[in-house]
C-alpha cells in the first residue's frame, strides 16, 4: 500500500484527470440477508490483471443497522486539524449522533497513516431544503473547501472503504471480512498516473449512490458542464464522479424511475427507436431530447449501488460495450452477481462445492441489468429498453413538422 496522497492528488497532477482500467465486482442478496465481505474480496482479488496496486475499494450496504436512520459519513483526513474542522463544521449543521475511528489494520511501521473516521449525522431541519440536499451541500463543501479532508461516503446504513493499494491489501486494512452487508460492490484499479490517491479510488459515492466504474467517459466535458448548472462541483480529477452525480440528479432530484434514468445515460440508438411503435418512440425521444447532456459516452462498464428507497444494484455498459460486464444468478435465485470478468464467479463456485450459478449471461450493450432487494432481477440486461416496462404518456414530445 502507498501511505501518501490521502485526501488529494499531488499538485502537479491536478490539471489532468486520472484514466484507468479496472476490475469491478458486486452482488446483492434479494432477501436482504447480510453476508460478510469475504465473498466480494474473493470476487475482486482474482481479477489481478485489472489492477496495478494503485487503488481499490469496497462499498457495503446494510452495515449500520443500529444507525440506519442517520447519514453515515466516512472520512479520510490527513491531519488532526482537518478532522477537528470537519466535525466542527458538521456540528454546526446538525447533530453528530456518534463519531469514531473506523477500525483498521494499520501497520506499525507507518509514520503518516491517514485518519479514517466515521460519523453518524442528523442534519438540522430546514424548511426549504430536503435533508438529502443539505447533505449534498455539506459533501461539496467539505471536499472543495476544507483542506486535508475528504468524504468517502455519505449514505444511510452503508459505507465506502477505499485506499491506495491492491484490493486484497485494502480488504485487510479495513477488515472488510468483519462487515455484514446485503449488497457489496468492489473495485480494483489500474490508473495511468503513478501516484494514485486514496480519495480517487472507487467506489465513488454520494448519498446512497455508489459507483464502481471501468473505463473512461469521453463525454466528461459535456456531463460536467451540465452538472455544474445544478451545483455539482467536479473536483476529484476523475470522470467517475460525474456518473455518481448524474445518478443523483436523475434519480433523486428529477425522480426518474431507475430504468428510465439508465435509458437517459445510455439511450437506445435513434435507428432502434425508429423501429418501435409511436408511443415508445415518443417516450424515448423525449428522454433523448431532454437529457442529451446526461448521456454517457466512451468505453465504460459500471455497477451502481443505490438505495433510495429500495436497495438496488444496477449494471450498465456503454452503447458499444467497449468494456466487459457479466452477470450471474445463484442456484437459489437469491443472489445476483455482476462482474467485469466471469473469473469472479468461477472463483466462488470452485472454492465451494455446494455452490453453483444457475445462469451466467452477458448483458447487452447499453442495456441496464437491475436487481432489486425484495423484487429480484427486474431487468436482465438482455431485453430491449422499454420491454417489460408498461409505459404510457400523457405529455411527451410534440412532433414538429420535420419529424
Amino acid at each position: 500500500m502507498r501511505w501518501e496522497n490521502y485526501t488529494s492528488l499531488p499538485e502537479q497532477y491536478r490539471n489532468q484527470r486520472v484514466f484507468d482500467g479496472c476490475g469491478i465486482s458486486g452482488f446483492i442478496n434479494i432477501d436482504g440477508s447480510r453476508v460478510s465481505g469475504d465473498k466480494v474480496i474473493d470476487m475482486i482479488s482474482i481479477l489481478k490483471e485489472r489492477e496495478n496496486g494503485l487503488g481499490a475499494g469496497f462499498a457495503a450496504y446494510g452495515i449500520y443497522p443500529k444507525y440506519k436512520d442517520y447519514y453515515a459519513f466516512h472520512f479520510l483526513f490527513d491531519t488532526i486539524a482537518a478532522k477537528t474542522n470537519t466535525l466542527h463544521y458538521l456540528g454546526n449543521n446538525g447533530t453528530i449522533i456518534a463519531s469514531e475511528a473506523i477500525p483498521t489494520n494499520t501497520p506499525t511501521n507507518i509514520d503518516n497513516p491517514p485518519i479514517i473516521w466515521r460519523a453518524f449525522f442528523d442534519p438540522k431541519k430546514s424548511n426549504n431544503l430536503e435533508p438529502d440536499e443539505i447533505i449534498l451541500k455539506i459533501v461539496m463543501e467539505i471536499n472543495a473547501n476544507i483542506n486535508n479532508a475528504f468524504v468517502m461516503s455519505s449514505g444511510k446504513d452503508m459505507g465506502v472503504f477505499k485506499g491506495n493499494g491492491w484490493s486484497h491489501e485494502i480488504a485487510d486494512f479495513y477488515m472488510i471480512s468483519g462487515y455484514n452487508a446485503y449488497m457489496w460492490l468492489a473495485h480494483s484499479r489500474f490508473p495511468t498516473n503513478t501516484p494514485g490517491w486514496w480519495g480517487g479510488a472507487h467506489p465513488f459515492n454520494l448519498l446512497n449512490c455508489s459507483v464502481i466504474h471501468n473505463g473512461e467517459i469521453t463525454s466528461y466535458g459535456t456531463n460536467q458542464r451540465y452538472l455544474s448548472s445544478y451545483g455539482y462541483k467536479c473536483t476529484l480529477f476523475t470522470d467517475t464522479e460525474v456518473i455518481a452525480y448524474l445518478f443523483d440528479l436523475l434519480c433523486r432530484k428529477h425522480k426518474l424511475p431507475l430504468s428510465i434514468a439508465t435509458m437517459a445515460l445510455a439511450p437506445p440508438l435513434y435507428d432502434e427507436i425508429e423501429k418501435l411503435d409511436k408511443k415508445d418512440q415518443i417516450i424515448l425521444k423525449s428522454i433523448r431530447a431532454t437529457y442529451r447532456s446526461a448521456m454517457l459516452n466512451g468505453p465504460f462498464s459500471i455497477v451502481v449501488g443505490y438505495s433510495n428507497p429500495v436497495p438496488t444494484m444496477i449494471g450498465l455498459t456503454d452503447r458499444k460495450k467497449l468494456r466487459p460486464l457479466v452477470a450471474a444468478i445463484s442456484d437459489d435465485e437469491n443472489t445476483i452477481y455482476m462482474s467485469s470478468e466471469e473469473a469472479s464467479f468461477k472463483r466462488l463456485t470452485s472454492s465451494n462445492n455446494n455452490f453453483s450459478m444457475k445462469e451466467i449471461w452477458h448483458p447487452k450493450s447499453g442495456t441496464a441489468t437491475i436487481a432489486m432487494l425484495g423484487k429480484g432481477l427486474v431487468r436482465n440486461g438482455l431485453e430491449p429498453s422499454l420491454m417489460k416496462l408498461k409505459s404510457k404518456y400523457e405529455g411527451g414530445l410534440v412532433n414538429g413538422n420535420c419529424a
Binding site: T222, R225, S229, S259, R288, L296, M372, N401
Partner: protein, 506 residues
C-alpha cells in the same frame, strides 16, 4: 459632389490572343461590362473587373486568365493599399461605403487556434464506417426535467407526464444561414430549400418573406421576422418549421437590412410586399422592441399566432454583452437562440460596421453557453452559432465550445458557384446567385446547385463522424460543450481562459 479619383485596379484580364477564337462568349457572360469586342479583338476595361472568373470559366478556348495588377503603389506598412483605396473612394463620392460577404480583415481566426483531441490506448476510438455514430439532433426548447409517475401497484408501470414544447428532428447539426430572396436569387433559394429538405436539415429565409412557390419546403424552413416585417403575414408565419425574430446580424450589428432598389424586381416586390425598385431598408431596431420586455411580448405574440406549434427564437449579433442579453432572451421565452459572429456574411452592409463591429463567434459561444449554464437555462434551449463557419472543422469546434447547431451561408454560396468577388450588393452576380436579373438567374441550375449543397453537407457530416469516432464519442450530443476535448495553441492564453479550454500540453 463626386470628384472621382482614379484608383489603381486590382485585377487584369489577360487574353491569350492565339487561343482566343473571338466567339464573344466572354462578352456575353461578363455582367460587369468589362469585356467588349471592338470589331477586331476582345478588349477589357480592367477598372471594372471584379475577378468573378465567369469569363475565364466560360471561355471555350481557355484563353482568359484573371491576374493581379502588378502595377505597384509605393509600399507602406500602415497606409496599406486597401486603406488608401478607402480614402480615395470616400473623398471621391462622400458616402458610406458598402461591402458584401463577411469581414475581410485578416484577423486571426480563433477556430484555427483550436486543436481536437483523439483517443489513444485508454479509450478505443470508433470507426464510423463500422459502428453507428449519431448526428441527429432535436431543435426546440426542452423542459428542465421529465416527470414520470410510477404506478404504485406495478413496479414496471410508468407514465410520462411532461408535455414537451414543439421540437423537430434534424439529421445533421447544420443549418443554412438566413439569406433572403432579394439578396440571392429565386433559383439560389430554391436550390437551398430543396437541399435542406433532402438532407432533413433547416434553412433560413432571411427577412425577405417566403415566396408562395416555396411553401412546400416549410417543414425545413425557418422564417425570419425582422424590423422591416417584409412579407410577414399569416401565411408566412404558418409556413415554417420555426420562427426567428431577427434582432441583429453578425455582419452588421446595430443595423437593419439593406437591399438596394436595383435588386427589388417584381418578384421581390411581391414577396416582400413593397413597391418595385424601392430600396428595402429595414429599420435599425424593431420599432416595437425598445427593451427586453418588448421582445418577450413579440415572442409571445408569435407563439400565439402560430398556436404554439413551432419553436420561436431570436437571432442576435455577437456583441460585447451577448451573454447577459442571451439570458434575457431565453427568460423572455425564446425556444432557440441564434448567435451570429462578427465575420458573418451579408449581401450589403456598410463597410465600417462589417469590418469593425461585433466579436468573434468562438468567444460569444463560450460566453453565452457559460452564462446560460450559470443561470441553469442552457440545456433548455437550442443554441445556433454562425459567422463564420467555413468548413467542418469550424463546425466541430463550434459544437465543442457549446453550440447545438452550426449555421453557415457562405460555404453554401461557394458550393453553388460563388467565387467570393464580394459584389453581391450590386445585383450583377454573374453566377446567378446574388442577383435578380432574369438572364443571370437562369445561369444557376437548381438541381445541380442543390446536389452540390447536399454533397457539401454530406461530407461535413461524414467528417464530423470521423472526428467523433476518433474522440470515442458515438453521438454528437456528447460533443456539445465538451470543451475538455479542445486545446488552444494560439498566441493569447487569455483567449483560452475565456473559452474555458486548456492550452495544448496541459
Amino acid at each position: 459632389m463626386a470628384i472621382v479619383h482614379e484608383i489603381l485596379n486590382y485585377f487584369k484580364v489577360e487574353i491569350n490572343r492565339e487561343q482566343c477564337k473571338k466567339c464573344k462568349r466572354c462578352v456575353n457572360h461578363c455582367s460587369y461590362g468589362v469585356l467588349s469586342f471592338n470589331g477586331e479583338k476582345i478588349v477589357s476595361d480592367d477598372q471594372k473587373c471584379v475577378a468573378c472568373q465567369r469569363c475565364a470559366v466560360m471561355c471555350p478556348g481557355n484563353a482568359i486568365r484573371i491576374v493581379q495588377n502588378e502595377s505597384f503603389l509605393p509600399p507602406h506598412g500602415n497606409y496599406t493599399r486597401k486603406i488608401r483605396n478607402i480614402i480615395w473612394a470616400q473623398s471621391g463620392d462622400g458616402g458610406v461605403l458598402l461591402a458584401a460577404t463577411g469581414n475581410d480583415r485578416p484577423i486571426r481566426s480563433i477556430f484555427d487556434d483550436l486543436l481536437l483531441d483523439a483517443c489513444q490506448v485508454t479509450n478505443p476510438s470508433i470507426d464510423p464506417l463500422r459502428e453507428k455514430i449519431e448526428t441527429k439532433i432535436f431543435f426546440g426548447r426542452r423542459p428542465e426535467k421529465l416527470t414520470f409517475v410510477s404506478d404504485q401497484d406495478d413496479l414496471e408501470g410508468v407514465s410520462l407526464k411532461t408535455k414537451l414544447m414543439p421540437n423537430f428532428e434534424m439529421d445533421m447539426p447544420i443549418m443554412v444561414g438566413h439569406m433572403s430572396l432579394g439578396s440571392i436569387s429565386y433559383n439560389a433559394c430554391h436550390a437551398i430549400y430543396k437541399a435542406a429538405k433532402e438532407l432533413n436539415i433547416v434553412a433560413g429565409t432571411g427577412e425577405g418573406g417566403l415566396h408562395p412557390d416555396f411553401f412546400e419546403y416549410a417543414p425545413n424552413i425557418i422564417t425570419e421576422v425582422a424590423s422591416g416585417r417584409f412579407g410577414v403575414d399569416l401565411n408566412y408565419l404558418h409556413n415554417a418549421a420555426a420562427l426567428e425574430i431577427k434582432i441583429g446580424q453578425g455582419a452588421k450589428p446595430g443595423h437593419g437590412g439593406h437591399l438596394p432598389g436595383e435588386k427589388v424586381s417584381s418578384l421581390i416586390s411581391q414577396t416582400r410586399m413593397i413597391p418595385k425598385g424601392s430600396d428595402a431598408l429595414s429599420p435599425y431596431p424593431h420599432h416595437d422592441i425598445y427593451s427586453i420586455e418588448d421582445l418577450a411580448q413579440l415572442i409571445a405574440a408569435l407563439k400565439e399566432a402560430t398556436r404554439y406549434k413551432v419553436p420561436v427564437g431570436v437571432k442576435i449579433a455577437a456583441v460585447h454583452n451577448s451573454a447577459p442579453i442571451a439570458v434575457g432572451i431565453v427568460r423572455g421565452g425564446a425556444d432557440f437562440l441564434t448567435l451570429d459572429g462578427f465575420r458573418g456574411g451579408t449581401g450589403a452592409a456598410p463597410r465600417i460596421i462589417r469590418n469593425h463591429a461585433g466579436i468573434p463567434i468562438e468567444l460569444a459561444i463560450a460566453a453565452v453557453d457559460e452564462r446560460l449554464r450559470q443561470e441553469g437555462l442552457r440545456d433548455q434551449v437550442t443554441l445556433i452559432a454562425g459567422g463564420s463557419i467555413r468548413y467542418s472543422a469550424d463546425l466541430i469546434k463550434a459544437i465543442a465550445l457549446g453550440a447545438d447547431i452550426g449555421m453557415c451561408a457562405m460555404p453554401v454560396l461557394i458550393a453553388m458557384g460563388c467565387r467570393v468577388c464580394q459584389q453581391c450588393f450590386r445585383g450583377l452576380c454573374s453566377w446567378g446567385i446574388a442577383t435578380q436579373q432574369k438572364y443571370l438567374v437562369k445561369r444557376l441550375d437548381v438541381d445541380i446547385a442543390k446536389n452540390r449543397i447536399k454533397n457539401l453537407f454530406h461530407s461535413w457530416n461524414e467528417e464530423l463522424k470521423e472526428v467523433l469516432g476518433a474522440m470515442g464519442i458515438d453521438s454528437v450530443e456528447s460533443l456539445r460543450s465538451n470543451r475538455d476535448r479542445l486545446r488552444y495553441i494560439g498566441p493569447n492564453p487569455h483567449i483560452a481562459e475565456i473559452l474555458g479550454v486548456k492550452h495544448a500540453g496541459e
